[in-house]
Every structure is written in structure tokens, then in C-alpha cells.
Symmetry: C2
Subunit: 253 residues, 2 copies
DNA sequence: ATTGACCCTCACGTTGCGTGAGGCCCCATG
DNA sequence: CATGGGGCCTCACGCAACGTGAGGGTCAAT
């Protein structure tokens, strides 16, 4: 009999609450709703959760952060393949990212109007809040369960496949390089050629061919032209989105 | 007396509701709270809103979409320079974008675990829901009104300045080119050399120097390597993030 | 044996609206 | 001229997702 010792992982409400960031009251609430019931209840009446419940809570939080009502989250979790559900949700997240970008663009226009540019129409004013732009709830349900389900899932899988295998390590490297650059920036240091060189080398590796300094400077222009990049760099450190391209161009002489 | 004919722009509740996407009830609610009061009330008792109210509503919706309680939105709008407020909010949005990216990354890891990879720790499981990662409310208030205010605003301004003047038209052009490419993709057409050429020309223009086909193909690799791009392209049309780079590389031979 | 950190179960309060109920206004059409 | 059919008004109750005590057991350590 291939019986294996099972490691008993048990968390009390407080432990799970601290780990997940939700309140104890919320766990009580989810228990009352039947959305997340403890694995077992001790003789003392304490709720005790296991690994499965921890994972279930994570999934609940994913959907909750997307604005789904708890009742529907329960229905979702009740049936179907978890992997399918999460892949569909991944698609939704990507779309939400697009919506955020729209929001940024509209905000910029509003700022320009406030600074003297000509006014925009009522329609333009509210595009980012448009239900279609927003994470569209009904459309999503239709898409998830409707006839297009197969296509959506296929797209989702292709999507995952689009990240080349073995790339993860390279992304890690990029993150380290960027961290070094951010550190240099935050210390008020002049652009360190070493770190910029590392960045250029990384680009060359990604391209599979050399990246001369001028091409690197060209990349800087591209960074500036894409709001996504600006947002990402700005998230790393305020002002960084401006500093990095400047440094790249300066290094190219 | 430099008196100018003022164009009277007035909207009833229904008109403003349709334009903005909120419900009539919501406008009533905001009126009751004193958050958004009509410019005037007709003899018939109808609420009538003007341009200023329309702009104010947009700002309210910005903050609401960020999860701010209405009471604090009112307090925010009560004092200070609108441009300053919105620039601070812009910063917040950028950070929220970063949080979304984290969420995507964690989702991918969970999917890998479900597909057989080794499990992650409780901590990793919940990182994207961590209050610090989330649009952190208190921290934002401190940052907005605290001693770092000047620095934050300065960063925000530099930030805006980092988008080169006269660039807006070019972004419009890019959007049109991308729309054409998406249309080609959705029609199942083979990559049209004309549209790809337009894209390459755009890149060259942005770079301020020519962009040979191989460089264009290199760009494709870079698109694949950056989750931001994948997310953005995926938002345009599912699967597009995979198709475009493939087309770009194919065109380069 | 007592303290302090957890746990339990009610149970009412809060926010941000949804959803009628009941009634007035307006204008286009038979 | 009446008669809809929208659109507007004001209450007023309902609901989701918890927050926030109140009142009271549990547990490990001092």
C-alpha cells in the first residue's frame, strides 16, 4: 500500500486572515454564506482550514478583486475545471489592463483641457467608465459559458504559449538589471555605464543579435512613446520613466 | 466690457446619466449627499447640470473607480487645485497598473502549480492582495497631503513632461495602424505587407532613423518579452499578441 | 490563578446605491 | 381636447459585504 504520511497543514481563522490579508470577520462571513467552509471544526468550536481552503480563498479573492458578487463566485467555484476558470480569468485581467491604459489616456486629456487645450465632448469625457470598456460582467459570463467558450480558452492557451519556453530566467535577469538601475536613480547617481551596459546586453540577448548603442538609444525613444512602458517604469520609482531613456540616450553620446 | 455670449450647455439627469454611464438614481444620490449638486433647478423642479458639473462628475468617477468612499471624494474636491489632484491620481493609476501586473504573475504561478509544479508558500499565494500592493488608501492620503507632497507633485509633472510635445498625433497614427493590423488578423488574412510596412515606418519615425526589417523583427522579440505589450495587444484582440510578432518576423524573412 | 491573546456567536450599523410606489410635467398624436 | 408615453420628482424600503462592538468561552504562559 503506497500510503504516504500526509503533512497536516491547519490554520485557524486568525492565521489564515493574517496570511491572506482579509479580516476574521470576512472569513466568518464566507463561512456563513457557505462560500468557504473550514475543513473541520475543533471540539472547542474553532474553525480549522487546510491547504485546499487556502487555495480556494485565493481564487475567491481573484474574483472578488474583479468585482464579482460573492454569490456568483460561489456558483463559479461549484462547477467546472479550476484551470479553465483561472485561464478565463487571466484573459479578463489582460483586458482590465487595457481599460486602465484607457483611463490613463483620458486623464491626460483632461489635464490638457484644464491647462488650456480645447474641451472634449461629453462622450470622450466618460469613455473609460463606459460599461463596455469596464470589465464587462455580462459579456464575460456569455463568453465564459456561451458558444465562444472553446475559442476563448484556445486563445487563452495560445496566449500562455506565446511566452517562449525558458524565458522566465531571462525575465528574472531583466528585473535584476532594472532594480540596479532604479537603485542608481534613487541614489541620485549619474547613470552608471555598467548597469546600462547590462541592460543593452540583455536586449541584445533577447534580439538574438548585437544591439549597438544607437539602437539602444532608439529603444529609449520607443519607451517614451508607449504609455505602457511609462506606467511600468513609473511604478518602479516615480520619475524613473523619464530618467532611464535620458540615460540611455546620453550613453549613446 | 468684454462680455461674451456664453453658450448655455444644460443637461437633465437623464442626459447626464446616459452620457456618463451612471444611473439616474446615482445622480439623485450624489445630489442628496451634496457631492454633485445641479447648476440650477428649473421651475418644474428638474435638475439641470452644466459643463462644470459634467467635469466634476468625471473626476468623481475617477476617484470612485479607485475605490475611494464618496465622503472622502467630497472632501478631496472641496479644496485644492484640480490639476494637482488629478496629477496625483495619475500616479496612483500607474501604481495600480503595476499591481495588476503582479496579479497576472501570481495567477500564472497558481496555474503552474495546478498543472503539477511544486506548491508555493501561503505568503506568495496572497501577495497580489497584500494591502501594500493594492491601491493603498492611507499611504496615498499621506502622500497626497503629507510632507512628500511637493516631491510627489514634482515627479508627476516631470512625468507629464516626459511625453514629448506633439506626440499625440503620432499616437493616433499608431492606433490606426494597429487597428488595421487587428482587422487583418480578425479576418484571418495573411499578414498584409502594406500594414506591416506602415508599422515599420512608424517605428522608424519614432526612432528618428531608419528601421530595417531585421530590426523590426527584433522588436517583435521584445514585444514577446514584455508582459505589458502582451497585455495591451491581447486587449486589442485575443491572440493578437501572438500573431503580430510572428507576422513581423515572417516579413523579415 | 490570573493575564492576555485568540476564539465563538449574536446582532445592529454603514455605504452605495437598486427598485418600486405614487404622482407631476410635457408634448406629440388621434 | 384628451390621452398616452416618456421623463422627471420625492419618499422609502431593500440589499450586499462586511465593520464593529457586546458578552462570553479557550488556551498557553507566567
Amino acid at each position: 500500500m503506497n500510503r504516504v504520511m500526509k503533512r497536516i497543514e491547519e490554520y485557524t481563522v486568525g492565521a489564515l486572515a493574517r496570511a491572506s490579508g482579509v479580516s476574521v470577520r470576512t472569513l466568518h462571513h464566507y463561512d456563513a454564506l457557505g462560500l468557504l467552509v473550514p475543513a473541520r471544526v475543533g471540539e472547542n468550536g474553532y474553525r480549522l482550514y487546510g491547504r485546499a481552503e487556502a487555495l480556494r480563498l485565493q481564487e475567491i479573492l481573484f474574483y472578488r478583486s474583479a468585482g464579482l458578487p460573492l454569490a456568483e463566485i460561489g456558483a463559479l467555484l461549484a462547477g467546472g475545471d479550476p484551470v479553465q476558470r483561472l485561464e478565463a480569468h487571466r484573459d479578463r485581467l489582460a483586458r482590465a489592463l487595457g481599460a486602465q491604459a484607457k483611463m490613463l489616456a483620458t486623464l491626460d486629456r483632461t489635464l490638457q483641457e484644464l491647462k488650456g487645450a480645447d474641451p472634449m465632448t461629453l462622450e470622450t469625457l466618460y469613455t473609460p467608465f463606459d460599461p463596455e470598456t469596464q470589465a464587462d460582467h455580462e459579456a464575460w459570463l456569455v463568453e465564459t459559458y456561451g458558444e465562444d467558450m472553446a475559442r476563448a480558452i484556445a486563445a487563452s492557451k495560445a496566449h500562455l504559449a506565446s511566452v517562449p519556453v525558458g524565458m522566465e530566467g531571462r525575465m528574472e535577469a531583466l528585473r535584476e538589471i532594472e532594480a540596479a538601475l532604479v537603485a542608481a536613480y534613487e541614489n541620485g547617481a549619474a547613470p552608471e555605464t555598467a548597469e546600462l551596459g547590462a541592460h543593452r546586453a540583455w536586449v541584445a540577448e533577447m534580439w538574438g543579435r548585437p544591439c549597438p548603442p544607437e539602437a539602444h538609444a532608439g529603444l529609449a525613444e520607443m519607451y517614451l512613446a508607449h504609455p505602457d512602458f511609462i506606467a511600468r517604469f513609473e511604478a518602479l520609482s516615480p520619475g524613473f520613466s523619464q530618467w532611464l531613456p535620458a540615460a540611455m540616450k546620453a550613453a549613446a553620446g
